[in-house]
């Protein structure tokens, strides 16, 4: 098991190296001179030339690559062209709001979706099932910004229970954090509740047809216990997959939500960087997101073994 984890962590290295190579090449192979783009329309050829020199663009491409990789290995993602601050500092500043809201969304979606999906499977083909399925079709179909604005209208503008927008860190008080984070998290969650509930239902329905469910009934075990103890745990692996990939996808979904709720997270940082062609920041963001993807997948694979003893690596 430990060997497996070590092996998986080692396997991250080539993955990240390929990502780094692609990130590097995208920037170098896009048409146009990065120095010219960065210097802007009004720059003189001399200014561009000196910028090229200072960016190291006159070196052969492989030298540039190794210089950049060398920087990366020191944990240095470069300096933002726009603000002049280091990319590390920018990301460190913006990552927490995003991570906190994404985590809250995942917790909420599991807490809502798994019971809903279980209910649907239990009442398969009956009223409760139809209601849950209707809810999840709606959750899928309505775009996040619509959900966001409706939630703002109802809970912030009309009822005035929650603030319209903004962000407070948990360090400023958990209550304040939740008051600000709950609407963005609900906005993000809608689609994942739908997805996870459907997966829970499908997976559980599959499991409920298994022989060991009949065995449990034959032992005289109560229906609820059969459903939860024998059913849900066996249904866990596909649900876990959806939750895990959902978390990674949330990080991209967060862009819209951060705009709607005016949250200073990495979603907005990315948009600003793209608008301003702030390449070092874009590179840093791509590397960060792929790193999180890889990490989350590793955690999911390890979590499988917790739920299913047959899975041994």
């Amino acid at each position: 098991m430990l060997g497996y984890i070590v092996k998986r962590i080692l396997a991250v290295i080539p993955v990240m190296a390929i990502v780094a190579l692609i990130v590097f090449l995208i920037l170098r192979l896009t048409p146009g001179d990065p120095a010219a783009i960065i210097a802007g329309d009004t720059a003189t050829p001399d200014q561009i030339a000196s910028l090229r020199e200072s960016m190291g663009l006159n070196e052969p491409i492989y030298v540039q690559f190794f210089q950049w990789i060398g920087q990366l290995l020191h944990g240095d993602l470069g300096t933002s062209l726009l603000s002049g601050t280091s990319v590390n500092a920018l990301i460190a500043d913006r990552i927490w709001p995003t991570l906190n809201i994404a985590l809250l969304s995942i917790v909420m979606s599991v807490a809502i979706a798994v019971p809903l999906g279980t209910l649907a499977a239990w009442r398969h083909g009956r009223f409760g099932d139809h209601v849950v399925m209707a809810i999840s079709v709606a959750g899928f179909s309505v775009p996040a910004f619509v959900v966001g604005y409706v939630l703002i209208k109802v809970f912030a503008a009309d009822l005035r229970w929650l603030p319209v927008q903004g962000y407070r860190a948990p360090s400023q008080g958990m209550g304040e954090f939740l008051r600000h984070a709950i609407l963005p998290a609900m906005t993000l969650t809608a689609a994942y509740v739908a997805l996870t509930a459907r997966m829970t239902r499908a997976s559980l329905l599959n499991v409920l047809g298994e022989d060991y469910i009949r065995t449990a009934h034959a032992k005289g075990v109560k229906d609820v216990t059969v459903l939860l103890r024998h059913g849900l745990r066996n249904a866990a692996v596909p649900i876990l997959t959806v939750v895990g990939t959902g978390f990674a996808m949330l990080l991209s979904g967060v862009v819209v939500v951060e705009s709607v709720f005016n949250i200073p997270g990495i979603g907005r940082l990315t948009i600003d960087a793209v608008m301003a062609r702030d390449y070092p920041v874009i590179q840093g963001m791509i590397l960060l997101t792929s790193g999180i993807y890889v990490l989350v997948n590793l955690l999911i694979d390890i979590a499988y073994t917790v739920f299913d003893p047959r899975i041994r690596y």
Binding site: Y212, A218, K219, G220, H230, D308
Partner: protein, 559 residues
């Protein structure tokens, strides 16, 4: 050893379960199809009643009705009564029935792998019976579970208690099921084909265990099986079911000696005899399949892991001549299927050579192999899974010949002829697999193999999933095809009775090695190797000639 039927008289014993004119219909509305029709049977204290019949006859439905486990939204009891001791089960609430399940009546199922929860330790699964009925503290439950595990002769109970099902053997899993069923000493034990998925030697142990525990606890046993051999060894009373009705009930010996109902006679007639059929004349044509020192070693492990090599097959040598049938028999894990798959080149052998006709196919690349594939075809065990459910029969039958260059209309013509050869109407071409029974599907699978005009057919447990009467028909079909087309058959089976009826020569495998190789007559009548003898001894009902209704004469068994 002569067959000794159980002859105890149970008339004075108390009735444990009495099913009286039970009717069950499909669907929830009036007038659904009747799947159980006035089923009546009684089992007394300590009695073993066998319920026999072919698939779809209603055996399992009867047991599920007793347990109150019929799916409520699909099937309902319309009339009749089921009394367990003094309790009329059909008038009780779902809650009351649940309280009786596991305590007064319990059940074990066919497939011990799927019947146990794969993600729960087996000790906890047994303890759950006690928990569900509110018995004992945690530590007391644990003590009782360890105690019953010792009673079912599980080794190293502390370790097994903590194991998951996949860490145990098939026999151990079935012992867990039995422990689970008997821990609360129920009055009635229902065993639904409990040994069908097990090897013969394991089957023998499990049957012995059930009757031992039955003696100790005085349990009434309802034993569901399709295997007449098993019935002859364990039954006090036999009930024969057909199409939802009990057509004959009699004490075991009377039923086997003087069956009354035509269906009972037909069932007994279809039981293949363990005594090999008459040998066929020697075949002198050169072999179509020549396997020499075949070996398959699975390697696992590698980086950061211990390197393990598992020898699945080792030094297997045989020749198969045109028109002959060679059987490979052995228990699960003996390597017989590995050999079949190597010969087919579905997996790559690690040692030895395989010659198909005049060509060495051992190391051919997939491209080179392709042109030879038509010469060797396979029929798999489970006809429900070996035909693509979304393709019409015609597509499955013509795909191979078309791949080998036969024009489409000729391929269809050949498919039509073949369907008639295997005993199906030609209009079956436009149907889908689900429209056929298991036996019909296996005929289609055979037609598919024959359509390629092969020299060799590998039949991997090809009749094991079929009812005996259907099994008999399919075996005859294979024999007819062999006679007419001169096909050689490599017949993989765990069933010695089947092997005795179809094979000219037999190879017995154990732990990947050939332990005995000879003519069917020599191997099955005068086995030399201890393992072969153990296999034959474990075959249930081996001293009885089911078709003739009498003991097999001593000189014939030669045990």
């Amino acid at each position: 050893m002569a067959t000794r039927f159980k002859t105890q008289d149970f008339d004075p014993a108390d009735e444990v379960i009495a099913i009286d004119r039970l009717c069950v219909e499909l669907g929830t509305a009036e007038g659904g199809r009747r799947v159980l029709d006035e089923v009546s049977l009684t089992i007394r204290l300590g009695e073993t009643a066998c319920l026999v019949g072919e698939s779809g006859s209603g055996k399992s439905l009867t047991s599920l009705a007793v347990m109150g486990l019929l799916p409520a939204n699909a099937i309902r009891v319309t009339s009749g009564s089921i009394r367990l001791g003094d309790t009329d089960l059909l008038t009780r609430s779902a809650r009351e029935i649940r309280a009786m399940r596991g305590s007064r009546m319990s059940m074990i199922f066919q497939e011990p792998m799927t019947a146990l929860n794969p993600v729960m330790r087996v000790g906890h699964q047994i303890a759950e019976v006690l928990e569900a009925h509110g018995i004992g503290s945690t530590s007391e439950r644990r003590r009782r579970v360890l105690d019953i595990m010792a009673q079912v002769h599980l080794p190293d109970v502390e370790r097994v208690y903590r194991s998951y099902p996949h860490q145990l053997s098939g026999g151990q899993r079935q012992r867990i099921m039995i422990a689970m069923a008997l821990i609360l000493e129920p009055a009635l034990l229902i065993a639904d084909e409990p040994t069908t998925a097990l090897d013969v030697t394991t089957q023998q142990q499990i049957l012995g265990l059930i009757s031992e525990l039955q003696r100790v606890h005085g349990t009434a046993v309802l034993f569901i099986t399709h295997d007449m051999g098993v019935v002859s060894e364990i039954a006090d009373t036999v009930h024969v079911m057909r199409q939802g009705r009990i057509v004959e009930s009699a004490p075991a010996e009377r039923l086997f000696r003087t069956p009354q109902h035509d269906y009972t006679k037909a069932l007994l007639d279809a039981v293949p005899s363990l005594h090999p059929r008459q040998p066929r004349p020697q075949e002198t044509r050169p072999p179509v399949l020549d396997v020499e020192s075949l070996g398959k070693t699975y390697e696992s492990g590698g980086f950061l892991k211990k390197h393990v090599a598992k020898r699945a097959a080792e030094d297997v040598t045989f020749q198969l001549r045109p028109g002959r049938t060679l059987g490979i028999v052995g228990e699960s894990g003996s390597g017989k299927s590995t050999v079949a798959r190597c010969v087919m080149r579905l997996i790559d052998p690690t040692d030895g050579t395989i010659r198909l006709g005049d060509a060495d196919i051992t190391r051919l690349s997939p491209g080179q192999l392709r042109s030879r594939r038509a010469k060797i075809q396979i029929v798999f065990q489970d006809p429900y899974r070996s035909l693509n459910p979304r393709r019409k029969i015609v597509s499955s039958l013509i795909e191979g010949p078309i791949n080998f260059g036969l024009p489409r209309n000729q391929a269809i013509e050949r498919a039509r002829t073949l369907l008639e050869t295997v005993g199906l109407p030609a209009d079956a071409l436009d149907c889908y697999p689900h429209q056929f029974s298991g036996g019909q599907r296996q005929r289609i699978a055979i037609a598919r193999a024959v359509a390629m005009e092969p020299d060799v057919i590998v039949a991997d447990e090809a009749v094991s999933a079929l009812d005996v009467s259907v099994q008999d028909q399919v075996l005859h079909l294979l024999e007819d095809l062999q006679r007419d087309l001169g096909i050689a058959i490599l017949f993989i089976t765990h069933d010695l009775r089947v092997a005795a009826q179809i094979c000219d020569d037999v190879i017995v495998m154990q732990h990947g090695k050939v332990v005995e190789h000879g003519t069917a007559g020599d191997v099955l009548v005068s086995p030399r190797h201890a393992y072969t003898r153990a296999l034959i001894e474990a075959a249930p009902g081996r001293g009885w000639d089911f078709a003739a209704g009498r003991e097999i004469a001593r000189e014939e068994t030669n045990a």
